[in-house]
């Protein structure tokens, strides 16, 4: 058999049937469900008199709307409360397991899947959420879908898909100290652009990727969608197996041995070809900061806001001018001179225990600047519990960070955690679109370490040289 990539192996394993034009009925192993993109799907099922084909393949959790303050108090926003109640009702009606708001296992959908061992190598995983690409860190094919497709998967356990192309993004070498997976993915997006991965599934390879922890790989794959790719993947290896083993939903006993044997076969074969290849050198990646309103508008912390006058392309120049105006920056100003008002550490990109450990290690003994409001939102109730057992919450609180309950929070500001118009935030989340964190709010995407340093200094600093 011809040499195959990781993606091709998983794709081929999941083809139920194919149309003459290549349109494929693809089997979906696992389905994550949250409150925002599912109500209309369940309603569609009910209207058509259909039932879920395999309710046991799905796991539901409310995350987008949940408050990050005291959960014993009723949700202030009645519309948010109704959406969460609707998820609860639908899961009961259709027999789907749900981690409710007061379950310790509740959290951001892309944090709890891996945490529970729900996410496994070789699987196809979908969710009505574009950051489903996160789960590709385990060597799974995982991608976001719309609500109609959520209904389709519930009803048929399949999706109609056209086979995407493959892109290898190879990062070799060793990252600079204090640089992280977040800096790697932002640098990749800066290089390929926000539409560079459109139509592709990315496989991340190279020695710098191999050296990443599972948390780092999840951060990396999470933002594949910001590069336009619906899915990003890393081949499973010992790091993957060690992470999964013993998790509540992971296979046990003989099944575990069988599964690991199969997972070892998934890595891309030597000589397999990708449709496109992009290469980066890890040493060349500086801590990254976005300056604009698209994740591709990014540069190293030692860089400057670009000057649109130097840009030849009309559309690019206009987009840059518009972004600089929205962000209230000056062309050519150093990134380090940008002063911030808020810091958000959290989201499906950077809210796992490793992120919080790292953030706490930089926060320890320091104080958040008097001009800055900073908050830490753990990715799940279990991450929060773990962090508290390790005393990380005390470090954050002593430094002046707020310590919150788990949820999506200010990544997209569907709950009460919102930027006010004109406020500027250093955020460990994934999108810096206009108004993403609140109408008129200004978002700079950074790593957790860079966010802590910015909170303390009140402006961006180069974490590589920060004392």
């Amino acid at each position: 058999m011809a040499a195959q990539t990781l993606f091709e192996k998983i794709w081929n394993d999941h083809v139920v049937r194919a149309e003459p034009d290549g349109t494929t009925l693809l089997y979906i192993d696992r389905h994550l469900v949250h409150e925002v993109t599912s109500p209309q799907a369940f309603e569609g099922l009910a209207v058509a008199g259909r039932t879920p084909r395999r309710p046991g393949a799905a796991l539901a959790v409310p995350d987008h709307n949940v408050p990050t303050t005291d959960r014993r108090v009723a949700i202030a926003d009645p519309i948010s409360a109704k959406q969460i109640q609707t998820l609860d009702d639908n899961c009961k009606t259709f027999g789907i397991t749900m981690f409710g708001m007061n379950d310790i296992r509740q959290g951001v959908v892309h944090v709890i899947g891996p945490e529970q061992g729900f996410t496994l190598p070789g699987m196809t995983i979908v969710c009505g959420d574009s950051h489903t690409s996160t789960h590709g860190a385990f060597g799974a094919l995982a991608f976001g879908i719309g609500t109609s497709e959520v209904e389709h998967v519930l009803a048929t356990q399949c999706l109609v898909q056209k086979r995407p192309k493959t892109m290898e993004v190879r990062v070799d070498g060793q990252l600079s100290p204090r640089c992280s997976a977040k800096d790697v993915i932002l640098a990749i997006i800066g290089k390929i652009g926000t539409a560079g991965g459109t139509g592709y599934v990315i496989e991340y390879t190279g020695s710098a990727i191999r050296a990443l922890s599972m948390e780092g790989r999840m951060t990396l794959c999470n933002m594949s969608i910001e590069g336009g790719a619906r899915a990003g993947m890393v081949a499973p290896d010992e790091t993957t197996f060690v992470y999964i083993k013993g998790r509540p939903m992971a296979p046990k006993g003989i099944l575990w041995d069988q599964a690991v044997t199969a997972w070892r076969q998934l890595a891309t074969d030597p000589g397999a070809k990708y449709d496109a290849v992009v290469e980066l050198q890890a040493e060349a990646i500086a801590p990254q900061v976005t300056w604009g309103t698209s994740p591709g508008m990014v540069t190293g912390v030692d860089g400057n806001v670009p000057d649109p006058r130097t840009m030849g392309d009309d559309k690019l120049r206009q987009a840059t001018e518009r972004a600089i105006e929205y962000m209230a920056l000056l062309p050519g100003m150093p990134i380090r001179d940008i002063k911030i008002d808020k810091v958000f550490i959290g989201s499906c990109t950077n809210s796992r225990i490793e992120d919080l450990r790292l953030a706490a290690s930089f926060a320890k003994g320091k104080k958040v600047a008097s001009t800055v409001h900073a908050m830490v939102v753990p990715g799940s109730g279990l991450v929060k519990q773990q962090a508290e057992q390790e005393g990380l919450d005390r470090i954050f609180k002593e430094s002046g960070f707020e310590w919150r309950e788990a949820g999506c929070s200010m990544c997209l500001a569907m709950n009460a955690d919102v930027l006010q118009p004109g406020e500027r935030c250093a955020s460990t989340s994934n999108r810096n679109f206009e108004g993403r964190q609140g109408a008129g709010g200004r978002t700079h995407l950074v790593s957790p370490a860079m966010a802590v340093a910015a909170a303390v200094e009140g402006h961006f600093v180069d974490i590589r040289h920060w004392s």
Binding site: V36, T37, Q83, A195, L316, A319, F433, E434
Partner: protein, 206 residues
């Protein structure tokens, strides 16, 4: 889902790169549990000035584009979140077709689920259409799905590509789930085979 055959309609131009789904419909409108009534949220922030009043310069606030059914857009339209509320809002406003040089994958896919035809044309073709629509009030296009053509008022025709399967589903307004369920036996066979080969994939979530 409504079938899409041939559409002749007024064109509205949105001259911005990388329009993301957060702009098409901001988060506060995602709390609904219905698919309908989302027109109110369409481009909510861009439609308004800082004081909350309507921005008369925004294209959808201009009387000449009020009845538009075809949206003309730039590269990477619909990037960002998977929210299907974006095509629902466009549909609620009356748009049945979006023309752009490129689309984000999930948005492109979501359009087909809702009877909206996303058409990819070349950069120069899109550029010519922007010039046409800004120069002439009442500018209309005809989009013929069967022939895969966009026809301009002065008779120019632009061919576009579309997957045969998607084209057929949209042209006939087929229920995608119903189509897949016709292959229920194949799905069952697949599950039986995989249950033996990879039993760990069939452990129920509890």
């Amino acid at each position: 889902m409504d079938a899409f055959t041939t559409l002749t309609g007024l064109v509205a131009p949105l001259d911005r790169l990388n329009v993301d789904t957060d702009q098409i419909i901001p988060k506060q409108f995602l709390k609904t549990i219905k698919r309908t009534g989302l027109r109110e949220g369409l481009f909510y922030d861009w439609r308004r000035l800082k004081d909350g009043s309507q921005d008369p310069s925004f294209f959808l606030n201009q009387p000449r584009y009020q009845k538009a059914t075809i949206l003309l857009a730039r590269d990477n339209f619909g990037c960002g979140s998977s929210r299907e509320h974006a095509p629902w809002a466009l549909l609620d406003q009356g748009f049945r077709c979006v023309l752009a040089p490129s689309f984000a994958d999930i948005f492109y896919n979501n359009c087909f689920q809702n009877g909206i035809l996303p058409v990819v044309l070349t950069g120069p073709e899109i550029h010519a259409l922007f010039e046409g629509v800004t120069a002439r009030e009442g500018y209309q296009l005809t989009v013929d799905l069967a022939a895969q053509l966009v026809i301009t008022p002065d008779g120019a025709t632009y061919h576009f590509e579309i997957d045969p399967f998607r084209k057929d589903c949209l042209y006939r307004g087929l229920d995608a789930i119903g189509l897949t369920l016709q292959h229920a036996d194949r799905i069952t066979e697949y599950e039986q085979r995989r249950r033996t080969q990879t039993p760990w994939l069939f452990q129920d979530v509890r």
